[in-house]
């Protein structure tokens, strides 16, 4: 709530500054806007920007830095002795945060007064119970250092908040005052404003870089943490995946090979479904179909690409799985044990990928120059011979690129495999068995109340890193092929 108010107040100051700046500029020109350097609104915009940009920049920066600062302070307060055997500093910090929010709740509900919350040493004994009464989940009994840390956590946070409010408001007012003071009829407001806007535009464009940096940093940092706890060679070359959830460390085997195998196997099945269907559909649509058929069939096929993956996941779990089980299961051929298997996920993923392959291939086939077809017809080739011997070879690099893009999509797909492929990690050639993938394991290792310090949770970041590098490599390679091909005909 206070942040929204702060936001609105800064906006109000900026809006007021706009009108003040505008009228001040006009005043300095004696009411004649022709003797101003810029249009009056630019003087207003100058004040507006100089109020809002520093204030909001400071606000965002403060919101980012404060939790980090508070955490290091609190972390320094906890003595080494307060960290129990088998626990870690981050777990204790989480406990401190829980206790602090419990204190907040308790004060809000009137169970304890603000005084007690800040100085609870007197009746420390029943604090755990009181926090539980306030509806806060507290895992263990709160110890003295944790409670003290929680109290200073609250104090630091609330002083930080008030300091932030004051600093942001000061920045806004100072920005408005300085820019108002600058305003007179010779001030080049338009140049300043336009330069400022351009910097803002550049900042917006740089968010793409920031996102990539964020992804890479969060993956690299946590993967590094993971490799400190678990040997990298066991991760990359281990053939068993069996994380333990009970004990912390030691008993888990976290080999990525079964997961990679499951990923590739399911993607292979998906491509075996999607590539022939998608390719032939693209050939028919671009070479044979009448405009009416094309106008009808192409958008309908593309509907398949617009359906959310959760729908495909449910379709795999509840429709395709039981259907396949009826044919290949115990009542049919007896090959399949359960509805969730490699074929189930692969088939459904293949359906999802059909439009990817078909639209991309369609574009590429259409880009093959008509002169090549005409030359082939002139030699007496039939239409199918032309397609097979002239058009497809010419389009091949592009089609390979399209298939690689589809493959990268298949490797990164999550919901279909989470719901349709089962949860068992195994190395097997039987497509009717349940297997699991990298993405599905990222989800299962990171959902729920995971403790981010354990190798069982951190392994998900290493898996994510592998996935990121794999898909990025495939994409770069595919784009390279497509681009290289394009140069041939344009």
């Amino acid at each position: 709530m206070p942040i929204l108010w702060l936001f609105l107040i800064v906006l109000a100051i900026a809006a007021g500054g706009y009108f003040l700046g505008r009228s001040r500029a006009l005043q300095s020109a004696g009411g004649d806007s022709r003797s101003l350097h810029s249009l009056p609104s630019f003087y207003g915009a100058n004040v507006f920007l100089k109020t809002i940009v520093p204030a909001f920049g400071l606000l965002i920066l403060w919101l980012l830095v404060q939790p980090i600062y508070v955490n290091t302070q609190i972390s320094g307060m906890i003595p080494e002795t307060a960290i129990k055997e088998g626990s870690s500093r981050s777990l204790v910090l989480a406990e401190v945060r829980r206790a602090a929010s419990g204190l907040d709740n308790a004060v809000e509900q009137g169970l304890i007064t603000e005084d007690i919350a800040q100085n609870a040493r007197a009746d420390f004994t029943d604090m755990t119970q009181r926090l539980k009464d306030a509806g806060q989940v507290v895992t263990s009994n709160i110890t003295q250092p944790i409670l003290r840390a929680a109290q200073s956590y609250r104090v630091l946070n609330s002083t930080g908040r008030s300091a932030m409010t004051i600093a942001v408001l000061l920045a806004a007012v100072a920005g408005a005052a300085i820019s108002l003071w600058q305003t007179n009829k010779v001030f080049r407001a338009r140049n300043v404003v336009e330069q400022g806007v351009q910097v803002l535009l550049l900042a917006a464009a740089s968010i793409a870089i920031l996102t990539t940096v964020g992804i890479v940093l969060s993956l690299v940092f946590n993967t590094w943490e993971f490799f400190k706890l678990y040997p990298a060679s066991d991760f990359f070359f281990g053939t068993t995946w069996s994380p333990s959830f009970s004990g912390r460390g030691g008993s888990s085997e976290l080999g990525i090979i079964p997961l990679l195998w499951g990923t590739f196997y399911i993607s292979l099945v998906a491509l075996l479904v999607a590539v022939p269907i998608g390719l032939f559909a693209a050939i028919y649509l671009s070479e044979y179909a009448s405009p009416r058929v094309r106008a009808f069939a192409k958008p309908l096929l593309e509907v398949l690409a617009g359906i959310p993956t959760i729908v495909y996941g449910l379709f795999a779990l509840l429709t395709v799985g039981p259907l396949l089980l009826g044919v290949f299961g115990d009542e049919g051929l007896g090959w399949m044990k359960a509805g969730t298997a490699v074929v189930t996920a692969g088939l459904v993923m293949g359906i999802m990928l059909i439009p990817f392959v078909s639209s991309l291939s369609d574009d590429i086939i259409n880009a093959v120059p008509q002169a090549m077809r005409d030359g082939s017809y002139g030699l007496g080739a039939t239409q199918s011979e032309t397609i097979r011997q002239v058009v497809l070879p010419a389009a091949l690099p592009g089609i390979v690129g399209a298939i690689l893009l589809a493959a990268s999509r298949a490797i990164g797909e999550t919901m279909i495999v989470v719901l349709g492929a089962g949860a068992a990690a195994r190395l097997s050639l039987n497509p009717f068995e349940a297997m699991t993938t990298v993405t599905a394991k990222i989800v299962s290792q990171l959902t729920g109340d995971a403790d981010f310090a354990s190798p069982e949770a951190l392994v998900a970041f290493a898996l994510g890193m592998t996935l990121f590098i794999l898909t990025l490599g495939l994409n770069v390679f595919a784009l390279y092929i497509v681009r290289k091909y394009r140069e041939q005909y344009e």
């Binding site: 793409a208 559909a281 990164g412 990171l446 994409n475």
Partner: protein, 443 residues
């Protein structure tokens, strides 16, 4: 040239006829037909999958929109209420009253069937408690005839929808075979009926053991708040980034770096954005878990490339003559872009944004990682601001939660949720198409 044919007349080529095709031509024609057929089969298969997908969504999902209720008109007089309140087991007294009323209803229709209180509890849950709560909240209704519509248990509901049948039913504490006789009798008497399932659309999620009471309303609200965040962030940032790249960016290494990053981000698997959200927004910045705000931030980063790519395409479609004309009458570059190019590109930008939002609305994987799934959305947020920061579920996450639960009754809810989700997506896409049709300008 002619010499060769003179020397070996007729040996080089077989006798041909214009009316009858030779073997090789026939073979080639057949191959041609076969190839064409492959194409038709491929398209037919694709469309067949589409039809199967939608058929199964409709077939499985439509039952979620009806529910089975027992509707009994009930008049409680003041003495009856006083008497019930004076007994030791108050709810039992109310439930006895209800059973008497039900017996009367059955006798009216001339049907007799034996049942006890336990059977009623298996069918309808704790009836006495519901009735008592109603009368203690509305004391003025005592003595008035009230039409109670009590939701039947999910297994009875399943009996009507074919999920539970007499052959497959095993006696359990949830439902016994003899109860179905009572259900049939009540149906005949017109007491049990199927009505439109409003609680499914407006309600919140229920616990794991009550599929009948689960509704998608709360998660629709969660999705709404999340989409507000995505719209408020990704539209301005996306448009600003596109304007910079399309109109102002100099040709240099930094611009190239931005472009490469955008095209790579468009192809990064969505789950990686979930990891980013978990590490940066939750681990590092300590934003609340399961909050639509965090989901919105993650999805903003995910949809930005889509929006930037489509916005750049529509900016590029505005002819340079517009810019030149604006510059010619003395506008600055910034004015030319903001006063002329941007308004002309607006329909295309909006279309791209709506399609990007539709994509974000159906996205599930990144939301699993930021805790949208472990959370059971039992109620609506308390207010507008709380809508952003309070833990809530969103539509696709809710559907996943239902699909992952053990009770079969939730599957029907998941399919029903999909119908609602697809209806939202359809609406958004139709709006995008209308915008494009109506406002698109060809230069």
């Amino acid at each position: 040239m002619t010499d060769a044919s003179m020397e070996n007349p007729g040996t080089g080529r077989r006798a041909t006829s214009l009316t009858a095709s030779d073997e090789r031509t026939l073979k080639r024609a057949k191959a041609e037909k076969r190839f064409r057929l492959y194409g038709i089969i491929a398209i037919a298969t694709g469309l067949f999958f589409l039809v199967v997908l939608f058929a199964s969504i409709l077939k499985e999902g439509i039952p979620a929109f009806t529910r089975t209720v027992v509707s009994v008109e009930f008049t409680l007089t003041e003495p009856q209420r006083a008497e019930a309140e004076s007994t030791l087991f108050k709810t039992k007294a109310y439930s006895d009253l209800f059973i008497t009323e039900l017996n009367g209803k059955l006798a009216e229709s001339g049907i007799s069937v034996d049942f006890d209180e336990a059977a009623i509890e298996r069918l309808l849950g704790k009836v006495g408690g519901t009735i008592r709560t109603f009368y203690s909240e509305n004391p003025d209704q005592v003595g008035e005839p009230i039409n109670f519509e009590l939701a039947a248990s999910s297994r009875v509901d399943g009996y009507f929808k074919g999920r539970v049948s007499r052959d497959t039913l095993q006696d359990s504490r949830f439902l016994q075979l003899s109860d179905l006789d009572l259900v049939d009798a009540l149906t005949e008497a017109g007491v049990i009926k199927q009505v439109f399932n409003w609680p499914f659309i407006t309600g919140a999620d229920s616990g794991v053991d009550n599929p009948g009471g689960a509704g998608i309303g709360a998660s629709v609200v969660g999705s709404f708040f999340m989409m507000l965040v995505v719209l408020a962030l990704s539209l301005p940032i996306g448009v600003a980034a596109s304007i910079y790249l399309e109109e102002f960016a100099p040709q240099n290494k930094f611009t190239d770096l931005i472009e490469v990053n955008i095209s790579n981000l468009a192809a990064v698997p969505s789950i990686v954005f979930g990891i980013l959200g978990l590490a940066v927004f939750i681990q590092f910045m300590h934003l609340p878990q399961s909050a639509p705000l965090v989901g919105g931030l993650v999805l903003t980063l995910m949809t930005l490339p889509t929006i930037i790519i489509s916005t750049r395409a529509s900016l590029k479609a505005v002819p340079p003559s517009i810019r030149d004309a604006a510059l010619g009458v003395g506008a600055s570059k910034m004015q030319a872009v903001f006063h002329h190019v941007l308004p002309l590109a607006a329909p295309g930008i909006l279309t791209g944004t709506i399609i990007g939002l539709a994509q974000a609305l159906g996205e599930t994987a990144p939301l699993l990682l930021i805790g949208m799934v472990g959370f059971v959305a039992r109620g609506y947020p308390d207010g507008f601001l709380a809508g952003f920061t309070e833990p809530n579920s969103v539509m696709p996450a809710q559907i996943y939660t239902w699909a992952a639960r053990a009770d079969v009754g939730f599957y029907e809810k998941a399919w029903g949720g999909i119908i609602i989700l697809l209806m939202f997506l359809l609406t958004m896409n139709i709006i995008a198409i209308i915008l494009r049709r109506r406002f698109e300008r060809r230069w």
